[in-house]
């Protein structure tokens, strides 16, 4: 079993839809959770990061961690064509810089 799993997509939604992106992980010791967004031909950029369980909101984006299920989610409200990108989850046991990345989910938001 891989340490971090993520549905690769592609996921295609109409503009304005609510998008749910998810990752599952195998090690219950993981405590640091991040989401990165990667546009085509660019490097990943940090979207959100959280420690331990709970929700964190930033504008249209909400990150949710369910440690009991070993499941993390990123919700995008009122999705825009500019949200079209690959979304990578990243998790760690010890800190935000020693991370394991999921393979990424490709998202297309259709105008």
């Amino acid at each position: 079993q891989k340490e971090v799993e993520q549905d690769p997509g592609p996921l295609s939604v109409p503009e304005g839809a609510i998008v749910s992106l998810n990752c599952t992980y195998s090690n219950s010791a993981f405590q640091y959770f991040m989401w990165y967004r990667q546009y085509s031909r660019k490097g990943p950029e940090l979207l959100m990061y959280t420690y331990s369980s709970g929700n964190k909101e930033d504008g249209r984006f909400t990150a949710q961690v369910d440690k009991s299920s070993k499941y993390i989610s990123l919700f995008i409200r009122d999705s825009q064509p500019s949200d079209s990108a690959t979304y990578l989850c990243a998790i760690s046991e010890t800190s935000y810089d020693k991370v394991i990345f999921g393979p990424g989910t490709s998202l297309s938001v259709i105008p």
């Binding site: 990943p44 950029e45 810089d97 990345f101 990424g104």
Partner: protein, 111 residues
Amino acid sequence: DVKVTQSSRYLVKRTGEKVFLECVQDMDHENMFWYRQDPGLGLRLIYFSYDVKMKEKGDIPEGYSVSREKKERFSLILESASTNQTSMYLCASSRAHSPLHFGNGTRLTVT
């Protein structure tokens, strides 16, 4: 804003050549990292460094070496390039225990 600059966006090299990939960051970050990104495999850590002249192996160091002579610069070296090293190479930097900031990558093709 943190800026991580990779010297080349695209490189084409021949099998057996020695290849240097350069990365510079301008935020005085202690930590620097080299990843490679391949479809379906996500980001995999090659080497990282927590200080000048220090280096640590990541998950896939075979066939690579690194050099960090100055705090702002981290070089990845392919001693004898092979076709299975064709990939996207991403450099990142961070403060201790903080999230990673990535460059825009170097797409290396080895023929």
